[in-house]
Symmetry: D2
Amino acid sequence: MAERLPVAVLGANGRMGSEAVKAVESAPDMELVAALGRNDALEAIVDAGARYVVDLTVPDATERNVRFAVEHGIHAVVGTTGWTGERLDVLRTLLAEHPGVGVLIAPNFALGSVLATAFAAKASRYFESVEIVELHHPDKVDAPSGTAVRTAQLIAANRTEVGLGGSPDATEKQLEGARGADVDGVRVHAVRLRGLVAHQEVLLGGPGEQLTIRHDSFDRASFMPGVLLGVRAVAEHPGLTVGLDGYLDLGL
Amino acid sequence: MAERLPVAVLGANGRMGSEAVKAVESAPDMELVAALGRNDALEAIVDAGARYVVDLTVPDATERNVRFAVEHGIHAVVGTTGWTGERLDVLRTLLAEHPGVGVLIAPNFALGSVLATAFAAKASRYFESVEIVELHHPDKVDAPSGTAVRTAQLIAANRTEVGLGGSPDATEKQLEGARGADVDGVRVHAVRLRGLVAHQEVLLGGPGEQLTIRHDSFDRASFMPGVLLGVRAVAEHPGLTVGLDGYLDLGL
Amino acid sequence: MAERLPVAVLGANGRMGSEAVKAVESAPDMELVAALGRNDALEAIVDAGARYVVDLTVPDATERNVRFAVEHGIHAVVGTTGWTGERLDVLRTLLAEHPGVGVLIAPNFALGSVLATAFAAKASRYFESVEIVELHHPDKVDAPSGTAVRTAQLIAANRTEVGLGGSPDATEKQLEGARGADVDGVRVHAVRLRGLVAHQEVLLGGPGEQLTIRHDSFDRASFMPGVLLGVRAVAEHPGLTVGLDGYLDLGL
Amino acid sequence: MAERLPVAVLGANGRMGSEAVKAVESAPDMELVAALGRNDALEAIVDAGARYVVDLTVPDATERNVRFAVEHGIHAVVGTTGWTGERLDVLRTLLAEHPGVGVLIAPNFALGSVLATAFAAKASRYFESVEIVELHHPDKVDAPSGTAVRTAQLIAANRTEVGLGGSPDATEKQLEGARGADVDGVRVHAVRLRGLVAHQEVLLGGPGEQLTIRHDSFDRASFMPGVLLGVRAVAEHPGLTVGLDGYLDLGL
């Protein structure tokens, strides 16, 4: 019988961290060997024999946590934000001194969202028109969502690569804002509606046909399959990987 | 056996008119007794024994056509635009002198669209949030569509009536246009996509639930069931009716 | 200033009941005067001065609870199942002896769901084709859902009333089950998908157009606006009302 | 300036063929050098200097047409059905004798449909649940559609490959047909609705999230961008390619 992967969760009392604790405990091929909160000493993960850490802490703590893991030969799966280009460079240098150790840093662990973005970007190379509609709860303060902006940028880059420009649009007369925001030439519309969580639709159109790729995120639980997939794959991806799509067999 | 309704179509060579000719010919309870083009004399409809006219001509001709029909005791179903408030008043006066004659003037004969608007307006009285997304082919010159603007106005009026204001929205930071156009406090988003025809979605949200009412118009043929329904019902509605919803048993 | 409505919740420790307790407490025009669990004596609601009870208990208890309320002149809003035709008849007789007392018994308090069903039934009178797709989490044991069956029956009754039969269907060769279940001549398809809660789509089609009415229930919270609406309106509806649509200004 | 590709269309008077004639004529990088009907002699395409043929004929004629093209060093893009495994083997042998000649045989030239199927198959490796809903006009005689069956089979093969079985389903009590048809363990539901053309939705669900990939085919015109893409790429793909996805840069 295969041995179970020894996993430690950092930030175990946070909203995401506590979900991760439950997810690791429920995974038949993993063993939760440590669950650390804000004030616990990192040494505990070594003492517990962890070979993997899941870091779901805060921007101020994550860099120190990951450095500690790498220096102790422990693979890291990181969902915390705050990783600037500079921080990533420092980490790459450190990983070069620790070959064999893998680190995955991902802004989004929802498999469906990662796949939806990858598919939309690829498909946008083949369609005359593309627009994005994102829909969220009305307490969100920014519009459009970060995910929608990144999706639009990726789509724009793909279209430029194949020589496609913006989508056709004969609008001459519009009420201000009707045609949405312009992100690198891609129109993005943001709906805010009580009852919703986080949803995104990429609409692609050509003569006589439409392709729609929609992702609905109903619950924080949606991140956990991606976190577990990260833990299972991180040892086979030494060095730094940014974005869960790097682990998916997308070939995109 | 019931006699078939004798119907004349005006504007029979236009895009809508030629569809109407086909629709009337296919209707088992109707008989097409005349089909007039731009230069044909109106007297032909009297000679042909028409009891109903379907007017699908142009703004310049429609008023004269309808006046002629009413003066000859012929019921009229009118899809032509250009009926200002003043013109409608003149027509009402004329109809008062011809009791028993019915005229239906409708900007939209697609049953689904008429129902969708009526349902959305009614439902908006019961939901915290409501927004509209309309989607059309990219050759359309105005945004949002006239139907979307009318729907938003009707929704706003319904919400005011029950003391509901705008939908909640915590947006503090937005890319210009992301949150759509503001029509009487209702957000309206206009998507333009190759391959589409004319589509509209009204999204209503409350705690833990969403109601979506969507209409898709794929083809001009969608107007014909409404035109036929108009012909069948116009004699039972003497005087002027504006809007097909006046003939639908909506009770709304 | 208007006095707040004194409300008691029965079944206050259950899943629905505890949501109701929170909802009543949050409503600015209501006061929670009692919250009773399984073993609490009903007399407490009289002592507390309740003028309204919300019953979210179990089939075995609800009849006794409602009888007690009516006999003490207290209006009742009931979400508990188990009300057979016989039980309803007994209740009607009791209410006849207590004019002025109102009771609302509703199988479904989600406003969106009630509206969606009413709209779909009405719209089905005007379309050639109609089918239902319901989508739920994969732990549900029955297919299709009770709501989908009731919607299909209501649609079938409406179509019969206007002389419309089943929807057109040229299928000659099918894999068993592909065309869904047949409920009074209406096709119903049941999707089961991890991540979903409770969703239903009624699709209506005519020449060149489609009307779609969709309801998404994400959370038990979706029932509470309907419960509060029931409390606010029950006193104005003496006698027995079955179904929340009886309180909605639908005119359908 | 680049020379235009000399293209011949076979089956030019058929429904698909006449669309192809228009599409080739409109393509700025192509020249229509011949358009043959049922009784025209194939030699005309050689005389006209065609380097590419588009075959949109009938199962009885297509094999002879393609053989003729290959033997004359002309690349072929084929949308005609009827290519059995045996016929394909014969063609492969012929192509081995004519290195440098390319043939593309595709059952479906709608880019959106090809992409949707590829994406759905790939995504199904990462989700607990997957089901298919296909929707067509009510004059269709088979249910589910061939595309839906192929999509389900491809999904099943992908899931088997990664050790995923069927989707979870606790259904104990069902009305016959409610849960759809079973195609290799994937549930497929077929909706038939007046007004529709050809539509397909693949629904994928995991804890707290849903991914939906939908394709709408409104018009035969949707096949033409794929046909043109085939013509442009066939010379770079010597030998036989089955399925347009072989030409798309999907890396899937």
